[in-house]
């Protein structure tokens, strides 16, 4: 094992972290700020990926597809909010869990209805194809660098939105007392529709960006959903900064675990089993890390000052 490889893996971990953040960003917004448990977040992610793939196939342009993913996911989000979510704000979390669970079923099957059962093709745009040379002699895919950039941009934008704008204050106020903010003359209903649509658009954006290097298929949103929850819970719910740092922590831990644990296991068991055992521990690793973090800091690493 060389230093260069270790560094590359570190970069991979950071990259995976940013990717996770991108997937979690919309969820943080909806979940952290509106206090709504949205299990259907993964479905909106899927909607974005499918919209991008379908439109890109039709027009031949990834970029048009990317725009379509934003529009489709935002529209889906707005419809869902108006038809369903809106009725659930003053219910407890459990009703939200059931309703959004039901939405997952409908979205998955609906998508299959529209697009068939086979994975769709979605490739990255020519502009971002290929790899660049890194110092140390390895190459790194341009597209992954683009994902890092997109994640950073989203993080910054969200942070500004939530903590620095009046819109953000109103959303947070609504989270703690919807009735009161309404009684002060703020149209919180419409505001929440907008926020939900925004969160959905972010999910769709992530679906399109990440879908280009993964498989665009029905059910692609579910593993993402769990990971995204893990990320924001580790980071501390409602904190954009926490989500970003949580995502990086998960990304690096997971990558390094996958990379190093099998090597570590070789010291204890025969090589043939080392891979399997190491792999098994690696797949549990982020959950172990999460449990330890929550056991020590029950409100995540960076509980937002205002939650």
């Amino acid at each position: 094992m060389t230093i260069a490889l270790a560094l590359e893996q570190l970069l991979n971990g950071i990259q995976l972290g940013v990717m996770l953040f991108l997937m979690a960003a919309g969820l943080t917004l909806i979940f952290g700020v509106m206090g709504l448990i949205n299990l259907a977040h993964g479905s909106l992610y899927m909607v974005g990926a499918f919209a991008c793939a379908a439109v890109a196939a039709w027009t031949g342009s990834f970029w048009i597809g990317l725009v379509a993913s934003l529009v489709a996911a935002a529209a889906a989000g707005a419809i869902v909010e108006l038809a369903v979510i809106r009725r659930l704000y003053d219910r407890d979390h459990l009703d939200q869990v059931l309703a959004t669970f039901a939405l997952i079923l409908m979205f998955s099957e609906g998508t299959r209805w529209l697009f068939g059962s086979f994975p769709l093709y979605l490739d990255i745009p020519p502009l971002l194809q290929g790899a660049v040379a890194l110092p140390g002699g390895t190459e790194y895919p341009v597209y992954r660098l683009a994902i890092i950039a997109a994640g950073a941009l989203v993080a910054f934008g969200l942070y500004m939105l939530i903590s620095r704008t009046r819109l953000g204050m109103r959303i947070r106020a609504g989270e703690s007392d919807r009735e009161m903010i309404g009684a002060l003359g703020v149209d919180i209903r419409t505001l929440y529709t907008v926020v939900f649509a925004l969160g959905a658009a972010l999910a769709g954006f992530a679906g399109a960006m990440v879908g280009a290097i993964q498989s665009v298929q029905v059910g692609m949103g579910e593993p993402v959903l769990i990971l995204a929850f893990v990320v924001i819970v580790i980071g501390g719910i409602g904190s954009i900064k926490g989500a970003l740092l949580g995502a990086l922590l998960v990304g690096v831990t997971d990558t390094m675990g996958r990379f190093l644990l099998p090597k570590l296991m070789v010291l204890f068991v025969p090589p043939a089993q080392a891979g399997a055992i190491g792999g098994a521990v690696a797949s549990m690793l982020i959950y172990i890390v999460m449990a330890i973090i929550l056991a020590v800091k029950p409100r995540g690493l960076f509980p937002p000052a205002h939650a």
């Binding site: 459990l94 009703d95 869990v97 059931l98 609906g110 209805w113 549990m284 449990a291 056991a295 029950p298």
Partner: protein, 325 residues
Amino acid sequence: MILTRENLINLILAVALLAIPLIANAAGQPFYITLATRVAILALAATGLNLALGVGGLVSFGHAAFFGIGGYVAGILASHSFSGEPVLFGLSGTNQMWIIWLVAMALAGFVGLAIGAISLRTSGVYFIMITLAFAQMVYYFAVSWPAYGGEDGLSILVRNQFPGVMTMVPMNFFLICYVILLVGIALFAVIRASRFGAALQAARQNEVRVATVGIQPYRIRLTGFVLSAMITGLAGALFADLNRFVSPSMLSWHMSGELIVLIILGGTGRLFGPLAGAALYVAFEYALGGITERWQFFLGLILLLVVLFARGGLVGLLAGKAKHG
């Protein structure tokens, strides 16, 4: 017992669950016995969760861990009994259901104690997620641990035995499950009405208040969580025997989610909510699955309509708001 509307509905549910297999048996449609058994077992599992979730407000997204542990206890003990190899430290396997049940409850309770002790330090959404995390650990462990089949699961070649009963006869096995379900529900009712139940409910409503009257909410909750895990673990052992098979999918987060769905569907915290929910869910799944390939879409739609328009779940819809005395 006073015959309130809710009690009447509960009675109807209990009788119906017994009547359906009897009728099906008479009509030579044994499959409905299997279906009813499935309902009974899922209802038992959800009753366990209902204790933590409905009474104690502990939204555990990891109860599949206990369900699966119960299942694996049944599977592993049975397979060792079959092969004759000892399980651990010279202890042999068994195919006696009641031993399996005890072991399943003990192990689920023990794991529940460990998970609960850590998880209960957190609350709210963090609690939901940390319980999920623990269940995922167990899940991935089971998937990649080769000894008992890993992802492929483990078959129980012959259903385990119960003294004096031919368990392979579907009706007999149903009756076993039915009786256990009723005992489970009764236990739930008794616990909920007890002093402990009062403290557990109060801890859900106002933790600080409970502490300031001198009750440690943590201990109350932990006890509730462990009891809940034990009931769900028992259901898992029965489930393995029903399917004669256990696999990591019993441990998956889908399973945890499904248990929660059953409870909400039936009516959170309601005595017969889990049974109503399980019956409704299995009936939908079965009926829709036979009609259309798109059944999951319609299942989703129905669930959605239930949340939106039947507040308090099925029992809530039929019996009105819960009374807390």
